[in-house]
């Protein structure tokens, strides 16, 4: 399990990286933390002729909040988010921090990057799910300049995204989640890729007695080639109701009925539906409890 040969290029800055990507074309691949890519290269499932290492580019590992949004540099590691203080993250972004506990294990989180995770676009990756849930915007630079891609348009299919071969992610911008949000996953073992992951972001009217849900967002991973929002479940939340088991059960049921999940060695379609039911219910309950 030794990777095939490649030529190594170290980019000094974003412009340099883009120039290299443009020159080298499809034969090139960006490496940041490499936590997914190197494993695939060791299996020779990925065999880029050129690797463009962006790991040394300065100024891309930031966490910058302005109260309403959080800008995360592409080279920010999962672990940097995991240990970020409230002051760094800005109020209300604890959902992102808490979600990091689901990303593999510590030695993966210390190297893996936010940008790398989004670009790799695994159907169960936490960053992809969070981006879709919160309508994040992905900022990418290429020879034609910088553009911003809405998360909803970014993920195209299994490991494929809207990024062109000569583009790289520089930053992702997260709007602030609602105060009541949560991400939950299920896998057989601690740290495994989720069979199903679910994230919710609830709009709760705190002032009314009994706390009423006025709406919310629901996203799922592992039930389609890309992380998806579930409008049917969100419709249930939009109808509103008391924040409690009944509403959450109906919301989850709407999601479970709406999806058409794949079946594979990690779980049948039915099982994924059952997990969807459970995880959304539990995520809603967790969200309102915080």
């Amino acid at each position: 399990m030794k990777p095939a040969a490649f030529t190594y290029h170290r980019a000094r800055d974003v412009a340099g990286a883009i120039r290299l990507l443009a020159e080298l074309g499809d034969e090139a691949k960006i490496i940041a933390g490499g936590q997914s890519l190197v494993a695939m290269m060791n299996y020779r499932l990925a065999r880029p002729a050129h690797l463009v290492d962006i790991g040394r580019i300065g100024g891309l590992d930031h966490l910058r909040g302005d109260g309403s949004t959080l800008r995360i540099g592409a080279l920010t590691t999962h672990h940097a988010v995991e240990v970020a203080t409230d002051a760094w993250l800005g109020r209300g972004f604890t959902l992102l921090r808490d979600a990091m506990a689901w990303v593999g294990h510590l030695p993966i989180r210390t190297r893996g990057t936010v940008g790398g995770s989004l670009a790799h676009a695994d159907a169960t990756a936490e960053w992809c799910l969070l981006a879709v849930l919160l309508d994040a915007e992905i900022v990418a630079s290429g020879p034609r300049g910088t553009r911003t891609i809405a998360a909803g348009d970014f993920f195209h299919g299994f490991y494929t995204t809207a990024l062109a071969a000569d583009e790289m992610i520089t930053e992702v911008v997260f709007p602030r989640p609602a105060p009541h949000s949560a991400l939950l996953e299920f896998a057989e073992r601690r740290g495994d890729f989720a069979i199903v992951s679910a994230a919710v972001d609830l709009d709760v009217d705190e002032h009314r007695a009994g706390r009423a849900v006025r709406g919310g967002r629901v996203a799922l991973g592992g039930v389609a080639p890309v992380p998806v929002r579930v409008p049917e479940a969100e419709a249930v939340l939009a109808e509103g109701g008391q924040a409690g088991p009944d509403l959450f059960r109906r919301c989850a049921a709407a999601a479970a009925a709406a999806i058409d999940p794949p079946g594979d060695g990690n779980g049948s379609a039915d099982y994924r539906r059952a997990l969807t039911q459970t995880l959304i219910e539990d995520a809603c309950a967790k969200a309102v409890s915080r």
Partner: protein, 180 residues
């Protein structure tokens, strides 16, 4: 064989210059080029953690990193833990709790715990268990590894408190002296 590259590495405080293929992983470079065979390879896809080393103080999989990526980073391996024949407190805890049998996974667990405890010295047993779940061990059933890391953490806490108390007492005494 393809193009080779000159790189410099800093491992356990020592600088090295090497001419290697860029495709060589950090793990293979440590083991084969530098002769630091304490870092083991158990899966080469980042799951088992036998190759865990510290990169700038943080635990990382040496099989998921090319040596060229490690330039200018501070790499620490299991060979750095003991002082000559004097085992470190973490190593002693592993032995005392029988946290190793065949010993193949041990360097990875040691570096994992070393990096973690430096960042989270007050970790709870549950946090330690979650940490230990980062790597695979086939011999021990994990419990002794959790015990060893926890024991090491508690001893370090105790000695820090001891140290703080001593420093505090020292400050108090010197304060009295100054006031007198």
């Amino acid at each position: 064989m393809t193009d080779r590259q000159l790189i410099t590495l800093r491992v356990n405080g020592e600088p090295y210059e090497l001419v290697i293929e860029p495709r060589r992983t950090l793990a293979d470079t440590l083991r084969q080029d530098l002769g630091l065979t304490g870092t083991h390879l158990g899966c080469e896809h980042g799951i088992c953690g036998a190759c865990t080393v510290l990169v700038d103080g943080a635990p990382a999989r040496a099989c998921l990193m090319f040596a060229v990526q490690a330039e200018d980073r501070d790499i620490r391996t299991v060979e750095s833990l003991a002082d000559g024949d004097e085992l470190s407190d973490l190593q002693r805890a592993f032995s005392a709790h029988h946290a190793l049998q065949c010993g193949f996974c041990t360097p990875g667990f040691l570096m994992l715990a070393e990096g973690f405890l430096a960042e989270r010295p007050e970790a709870t047993r549950e946090e330690i268990r979650e940490l230990v779940s980062s790597n695979l061990c086939r011999c021990t059933g994990y419990q002794p590894i959790v015990d060893a890391v926890e024991d090491c953490a508690r001893r370090r806490q105790a000695s820090r408190r001891e140290h703080d108390r001593a420093a505090c007492g020292e400050a108090e005494r010197s304060g009295h002296a100054a006031g007198a």
